[in-house]
Every structure is written in C-alpha cells, then in structure tokens.
C-alpha cells in the first residue's frame, strides 16, 4: 500500500513537526508513504471565500500529484473535507471521483483503514480534545452533540491508546473555535471571542495540552493562548500518537 | 347577497385585481421541482408504560397541576378548596354546574373578562406533552379558556393518548371552527428567560383525570 501524504500549505510552512510526526507515525505502522513535492494547496481558502470557480488550477494539480496512490492521507480534517466535497475536474472527473473516495483524514485512516488497536506512545498529561467542525460534522470523525445518536470519537479512541493520557471533559464538547478560514480576520471580533471561549473551556477544565486533528483551529487557539501568556500548550494529535513528545518541558 | 357581502367581494376582486394570485401561482408552478412523494407518517409508539403517569409528570413540569379523581364530587371538592376567592366561576361541564358563580352571560366574549375560574371538558389529552384538546363546540366562547384567570379541565382517562400522532388520528377530520391544544398555564420567559406563569391567559391550569 502506498499512501500519498497531503500536507496543508500552512502546516508545511509553520508546523513541519506535525507533518514529520504524521509521516513517522504512518511509517511505523508499516505504510509506504510518499510526499509529492509538487503539491501546493487544496484550494479551500479560495473556495470558502466564494471563489470556488478559481480553484480549477489547484484541483488539476492536486489530481496530478495524488492520482496514483492507494490512499491519500492528510493531518487536517478541514482540507480532507474540502477535497472530498469539492475536488472536481471536468476533463478527469472519474479520477477526481476516485480521489474523493480515497482521501482520508489521518485519524480516520488509522481507525478505519489501518484498524489500529494499539500504539507505542506515552503522554502523561491532561489533554483537551478539540473537535474541529469540518472533521467532526463534515467527516464524522466523532458523534455530534446535536444529533440523537450514540456517541463515538475516532480521535479520542486513538488518544486512549496512548499511555498516560487523561482526556478532560469540556462543558461544550464540540463548539466551533471560530477560526473559519478568512472568517478569522474578516470577522475578527467574533472569531477572537469564540477562540477565547473555547480556550477557556479547556483551561478551566484542567487541560495541560489542547490537541486536535486540525492544525488551523489549533493555530488560532495557540495564538490566543500565547497572547494570554498561558502555559497551556497546543499540539497536533499526530505528535501525541507518534509518541515523539513524552515531556512538555 | 347583503350589501356588506357585496362590497367585500368588490374589495376582494379589486385586491386580487392586480393578478397577484395568478402571478404567484404561475411562478410557483414554474419554479417548483419535480414532485417528491409524501412520506408515510409512522405512528412512533411511545416508550413509556403509563400514559397517566407520563401525562402528569410532563404537565407538572410545564407548570400545570394534575389530580387523578374517581368522580365529579371529588373535583368539586378540590376546586372549591383551591379557589376560595373566585367571584365568577363558569363551568361548561354539566356535572359541575353547581360550582357556577356570578354572571352566567357569555354572549359577548368581552364580558368574560372577569371570569376567575373556567371549567371545561376535553375529549382528548396527550401524554407525551401534557396537552389537552378542546374545540369551539365545547366552550360558549372561543376566548373562555384564554381569558379566564384560572383554568380547570376535566379529562376522562380513557381519552388519554400517548403521542400527537395518535391525537390527530383521533381528531380525524372533525369539522370544528376552532380547536386548540392547551398545555399548561399561559407563560412567558421573555424577560431574561425567567419563567413567569400568567402572561395573558390563565395563571394556572388544573387537569382532572377522571375514571
């Protein structure tokens, strides 16, 4: 099995450690991983701003880069969802469709495809799990509190395999953090307020680390935490699952 | 045709004269999608074992009171004890006519303004939401259950159904002029979400489950 590693542009440039952790985790689980060097972006920033019609170039590039893999795995629910929902190519619609079917967010790839049951990692900290909306409500990585349906959570299932992790309870389990792509600057006031409230929920419930499957939400919350000079850290779930950080200091 | 009717018709046709009816219907017809079938509405059997218990629990939860009674004498007893200060009491229930007090006139709905306690009967009550059904044929004026200060409703236990689906099954195609489900006293929470009973209508609702 060969997996194409799809790394969102901002992760590539700001959070290389997340991409490395993803790569290493997949390799440890015996997967052959390739990072296509010519990848850029899924086109979501434009599409969510109303410019989906400008994403053709991005789309065909994405198709060229990823068409040959058995699976495409991405450590971001939001970018994965965008590809799943919006990757089209008039000339190669069949291939686009196939890609839409084989692109996976990292945690769902681990639970649903690799069917991971145990992990060799240790992280003895209180962790707050941020459910990013696109991963949760879009990809259904975990049950949504609005629905009258049995609970489950793919990322939490994985976190529980890590020795020492204590997942804290939030008072609002799956409220949006307010990042929202360009929303975070276009609607600065509400975006920040949402972020502060989300962070506060984690902090007041004792989180030492806030984690999640989407670095964009985490980047937003990290920005707020750092402005507040809070000791609480932000970490992508891949870093914890890969076990490369055993101590916060 | 009376003069009034005629002028009303003129008014109607002049109002419709702009052809809005046809224009709207044409636009709707043109724009509506292909016919999608109407789903079958299931009966959704309710999980609770005792409709009486459920009804009481729910109605109490929304500010009502419930009494299980064996007969009308008990009802009389309770109402007399609970509403000692009522000056005008109007009962539409034959068996409870002895409780009537004060003015019995009801020709003008406005004249019901000072009714302290209205007692009505309901042919249908719903366990899942604590609602009772009544119709214009069962009250002297439609406004009575709304304008009174306190409302009492007599329901035969046999007429308790579990869900709204069953309730509409029972209502069927009854030809009322006005019908209403009432669930609890009139209420509002418009001021900072603090619940206040007695917004415009009754400040209390008492249901007697009889039989």
């Amino acid at each position: 099995m060969t997996v194409g590693l799809f790394i969102p542009c901002y992760v590539d440039q700001f959070y290389p450690q997340v991409a490395k952790a993803t790569l290493s985790l997949l390799e440890k689980l015996g997967v052959n991983v390739v990072f296509p060097m010519n990848q850029t972006c899924c086109g979501q920033p434009m599409a969510n701003s109303g410019f989906e019609h400008l994403t053709h170039g991005c789309n065909s590039l994405f198709i060229k880069n990823f068409k040959d893999f058995d699976y495409i795995v991405c450590p971001s629910g939001s970018c994965t969802l965008h590809v799943k929902d919006h990757l089209h190519d008039e000339e190669h619609e069949e291939i686009a469709k196939a890609i839409r079917g084989k692109v996976y967010e990292l945690t769902e790839f681990l639970t649903d495809v690799l069917k991971v049951e145990k992990l060799d990692a240790k992280f003895p900290y209180k962790v707050g799990m941020h459910q990013s909306c696109h991963g949760q409500r879009g990809l259904k990585l975990s049950q949504m509190t609005e629905l009258v349906a049995p609970p489950f959570s793919k990322p939490e299932k994985l976190l529980r395999m890590v020795e020492g992790v204590e997942i804290i309870q939030l008072s609002r389990k799956d409220e949006c953090c307010g990042f929202g792509g360009t929303f975070c600057v276009a609607e600065e006031a509400v975006s920040v307020k949402m972020g502060k409230d989300r962070v506060e929920d984690h902090v007041s419930n004792g989180a030492q680390v806030i984690t999640g499957a989407d670095m964009s939400c985490l980047m937003h919350m990290e920005g707020i935490l750092r402005r507040q000079k809070s000791p609480v850290k932000v970490m992508h779930i891949a870093e914890i699952l890969n076990g490369d950080i055993e101590s916060l200091n | 045709m009376s003069a009034n009717n005629k002028s009303m018709n003129d008014l109607n046709s002049s109002l419709r004269g702009g052809g809005s009816r046809e224009r709207i219907l044409t636009a709707v017809k043109k724009n509506q999608p292909e016919l999608m079938t109407l789903p079958v509405v299931k009966n959704f059997p309710q999980g609770f074992s005792s409709p009486v218990e459920k009804f009481s629990e729910v109605l109490k939860g929304i500010g009502g009171s419930v009494y299980e009674v064996a007969n009308y004498t008990e009802v009389l007893h309770i109402l007399t004890a609970n509403f000692p200060g009522a000056n005008r009491i109007m009962s539409t229930v034959q068996e409870l006519s002895s409780i009537n007090k004060g003015d019995t006139g009801y020709e003008d709905p406005h004249s019901l303004e000072d009714v302290d306690l209205a007692v009505i009967s309901s042919p249908l009550a719903v366990a899942e939401n604590g609602a009772v059904w009544t119709m214009d044929s069962l009250v002297p004026q439609r406004v009575l259950p709304f304008i009174c200060q306190h409302l009492a409703v007599i329901v035969n236990k046999e007429n308790l159904v579990s869900s709204m689906h069953e309730a509409y099954d029972k209502i069927g195609n009854a030809d009322y002029g006005f019908g209403v489900f009432i669930a609890g006293p009139s209420k509002t929470a418009d001021i900072e979400q603090s619940l206040v009973l007695g917004a415009h209508g009754p400040k209390s609702m008492t249901v007697f489950l009889i039989g």
């Binding site: 790394i7 542009c9 901002y10 700001f14 290389p16 990072f35 296509p36 060097m37 010519n38 850029t40 599409a47 969510n48 701003s49 109303g50 019609h53 400008l54 170039g57 065909s60 060229k64 909306c133 409500r137 949504m144 609005e146 009258v148 949006c176 792509g181 600057v185 609607e187 600065e188 006031a189 509400v190 | 109002l15 709207i24 709707v28 724009n31 509506q32 109407l38 789903p39 899942e128 406004v143 709304f146 709204m164 689906h165 509409y168 099954d169 009322y176 002029g177 006005f178 669930a183 006293p185 009139s186 509002t188 418009d190 001021i191 900072e192 979400q193 206040v196 007695g198 415009h200 209508g201």
Partner: protein, 477 residues
C-alpha cells in the same frame, strides 16, 4: 455606507461581559433543546419525516395553495394574495379602512416584520400594538426583534424595568420579571378588550382543511383573535402542509427545537370565523417563488421558524441579532436575506465559520451551512465582493496552481505568511490584534523532506492522469 455584519458584531463585542451573558443565555436554550430532543428516541426519524413532508410541499406547492384557498373559502374565510411586502401591507390596510379601524393588536409574525407592516401602518395613522411580551418590549424601545422566537433576548431585566417605568409607569428600579410581566399583562389586556381587529401570524396552514395553526406560549394570538371582530392572519406561501395529521410531526418538533418545551402552551387551529366575525388570510410571496426556482437554495423554504439554528450558532450568540440587519437573523436569515436583496445582504453568508451545527439542529434538516457556502459562490460571481478581494484571490489561485511559483514564493519569505490570514506582525493586522502569530520554523517540511528523503520516488506529475484502481495489497509489516 451601512455597517455590515462584521462591523456591527465588533460593536456588540465592545462589552465582553454582555456578550458572555448573551452567549450563555442562548446556550442554555440550546441545552434545553438537546434535553427535549434526547427524550424522543425517534427524533432523527421525525426530522427526516418532517423534512420529506416539506420537500413534498415545495414540489407541489401550487396545487396545495389552490387546495388550501378553496378549503379556506369554503370555511368562510377570505383569502388574499400578495406578490410582495408592499402589496401585503396595502391589503391589510384596505381591510382596516373598510372597517374604519385605526388601532389594532398584533401577535408575533415574522412575516409582518419582513414586510415592515408596522412602519407602513404607522405612516398611515394606524396604531399597532404588538402583544407578545418580547415584541412589545422591543416595540416600546423602537427596535426590531433580535431573534425570531425570543425577540428581546438581548435585553437585560434592569433595562426592561427602566423601559416599563418610562412607558407603563412601573416603579423606578423594579426589575422583577414576575412584576414586570404582570404590568404588561394589565397593560395589554386593556388593548385586547378594546381593539376591534387582530393580526396574527401563521405557523402551519393545512391544505386539506383550510385551517391554520398558530403556536404561542402567552396566549396573545388567541386573546387578540377571539375578542376582535376581524382577524387577519398573514402567512408566507411556504407555510402550507398537506394534511392535518402532519401537524403531529411538526408540533412534536417545533417547541422542542425552539425552547425545549414538549409543545407550546397553545396550538390553536383556526378554521372558520366565529359567528359574526370576519376572518382573512393574506398569502404572501415576497421572493419565495423566486427562491423556489433556485435549486441550490429552495430548501431554505422548509424553515418552520423554530430558532434552533440561532441558539446553536456560535457566531449569532456572540454577535447578537441586530448584527444581521435583516428581519430574520441568524443562520437561516443569512441564507434567506440574499434572496431578498443580494447587494444589501452580501455580507451575511460570510458571517459564519461553516461549522455546521445549524444544519444538525434544524428540525426540517435544511442544509444551512452548505447553502451559506453556495451563497458565497453566487455573491462572488455576481460581483458583490470587493474587487481588491477578487484580485488577491486571483493571485492566490495563480500561485497555488503552479508548483514552481509556489516553491519560489515559499522561499521568498514564506508565501503563506503573506497569504495566510495573518499578514504582518503589526497592529494593522486583524489576526495580530488579539492573537500571536505562529513562529516560523527554521525550515519547512518540504525543505526537510527534500534534504532527508530525496531518495523517495515521486509521482510522475507531468504525465496525463490515468485512472488507477486502488491496489488491494495488504499492509506490509
């Protein structure tokens, strides 16, 4: 220029404790909704049923409207048709004139808000008293409602106490909800008893029987309608449902979704006028038939105005109803408003993070957040977004579709820094106002990968793509 959602939200956020209070009040209602919904094991199936009934309605609306009209006429009700808000207002006014009425009571109707009936009638010398307590409060304050179910959710009780002191003569400083509600009860009872004409909204209109159902907790619609000589019910044409028994489905969902109550206190079925009374129905289009013709947006007409999407919306809770500058605020308002006026409401579909919570609570399963996304595409294509933004998006698209450009851009001072939302680290940058920027690492992942994994074979990106079945190979160990 009028302030847009972001500017109005910014203003609302100047008072953070108040935002917290607003947010928590509405979240509490969302929790009540959850509790009520979780009490119904068949909840999701019920939503699906409601949704499908509404789809049927939309697909057969012209016939249902005619069926409804006929049944209503047979019931002795007079039926009027209004193409837009203006015509609706004229029709209502002409009925008033015919009866020589210049004062009336009105219960909650978002449709009349949408048509600006109050303003119209006031200009024509008619006094309108809104009788829903919350609506009366905002009316006294000369404001529009900020929520379709909870019109004065943005008002604190002390402020209402002061308002009532000024208008109803309650003692200064009394802010007890019980006391204030009773003062309003006395004030409004006098209106109910003296006004000869009552206007109500409509929650559901049954095609089969010609009856219309009005749901209130206060009983104000009934107090008005049953005491008045003339009852006018105003409704949008989408309020039709096929059969009486469908009320069972909708009444189970409506109040539970709205406030967490098992049903509203009153669910009144008006079928025929009472003896000596005149009953009118005004059927209003006002853009609905146009929305019906937009395949991507017609689902919005399934809305039953429960307000659940407001209460769950993390943006609405922190920006307040008035930031939407439209009669219907919140997520549903944001997808209805562009249909009414694209230019004026072009900002609203962007006032969302597309989190999707609204679609999940919606009792008729409107795909609200998907429609927000789709409205953005339409608004951009039709030119309702600033040309500066369009230019920067074009530049972004050019870079992102060209790996060579992207790599160069990445090297030259990290392209993403310029295009990601946080531009430069200074006070002018909206990101940086309240958030630190991520610290740029020594090298990007791409650079690291090139250095350390240059041996990994790359996909042949230049070649025309060919479809390849995913291999069934086992995971190697």
């Amino acid at each position: 220029m009028k302030k847009d959602h972001a500017a109005l939200a910014d203003k609302f956020n100047q008072d953070e404790p108040r935002v917290d209070w607003h947010d928590e009040t509405l979240w509490w209602i969302r929790q009540k909704r959850d509790k009520a919904a979780f009490g119904i094991p068949e909840w999701e199936e019920l939503r699906e049923t409601a949704s499908r009934i509404k789809f049927n309605v939309l697909s057969n609306l012209s016939q249902y409207l005619e069926q409804f009209e006929k049944a209503a006429l047979d019931n002795g009700v007079q039926v009027h048709w209004a193409a837009d808000g203006e015509e609706h207002n004229r029709i209502v006014h002409s009925i008033l004139q015919k009866h020589g009425v210049d004062r009336l009571v009105k219960s909650k109707s978002m449709l009349t808000e949408e048509c600006h009936l109050n303003e119209y009638l006031q200009e024509h010398g008619v006094e309108v008293i809104d009788t829903d307590l919350g609506e009366r409060i905002v009316q006294l304050a000369k404001e529009p409602p900020s929520h379709i179910v909870l019109p004065c959710i943005h008002w604190k009780k002390e402020e209402i106490g002061e308002l009532f002191h000024q208008h109803l003569g309650t003692p200064k400083g009394n802010a007890d909800p019980q006391y204030l509600t009773n003062a309003a009860r006395l004030h409004l009872r006098e209106k109910f008893l003296t006004r000869k004409l009552a206007i109500t909204g409509v929650n559901f209109a049954v095609a089969e029987t010609g009856e219309m159902v009005v749901c209130t907790n206060e009983g104000n619609a009934d107090m008005g309608a049953h005491l008045a000589d003339v009852h006018i019910a105003c409704m949008g044409i989408e309020k039709i449902i096929p059969q009486r028994k469908h009320l069972g489905v909708f009444l189970r969902l409506l109040a539970r979704s709205a406030t967490g109550q098992p049903i509203t206190t009153y669910s009144s079925h008006f079928k025929k006028p009472r003896k000596g009374q005149e009953m009118h129905i005004v059927l209003v289009d006002n853009g609905r038939s146009r929305q019906l013709g937009r395949p991507e947006f017609r689902n919005s007409l399934k809305c039953i105005r429960c307000g659940a999407c407001f209460n769950t919306c993390p943006v609405y809770r922190r920006s307040g109803g008035h930031s939407y500058h439209n009669a219907v605020a919140g997520p549903i308002g944001a997808i209805l408003a562009p249909n009414l006026d694209m230019k004026k409401n072009a900002d609203l579909p962007f006032a969302s993070t597309l989190c999707g919570s609204c679609s999940n609570v919606c009792p008729v399963k409107i795909d609200i957040h998907d429609q927000l996304y789709k409205w953005r595409q339409v608004l951009v294509k039709d030119g309702y977004v600033s040309s500066a933004k369009a230019a920067s998006m074009k530049a972004m698209a050019a870079t992102l579709s060209n790996p060579a450009l992207f790599k160069i851009a990445g090297k030259l001072g990290r392209w993403t820094i310029k295009h990601a939302p946080f531009v430069v680290n200074n006070g002018l940058n909206p990101w940086f106002k309240n958030r630190e920027m991520p610290e740029p690492p020594k090298e990007s992942f791409r650079e690291w990968y090139q250095k350390n994994r240059s041996g990994t074979p790359q996909p042949s990106a230049g070649r025309e793509p060919q479809y390849k079945e995913p291999s069934k190979s086992k995971i190697p160990h």
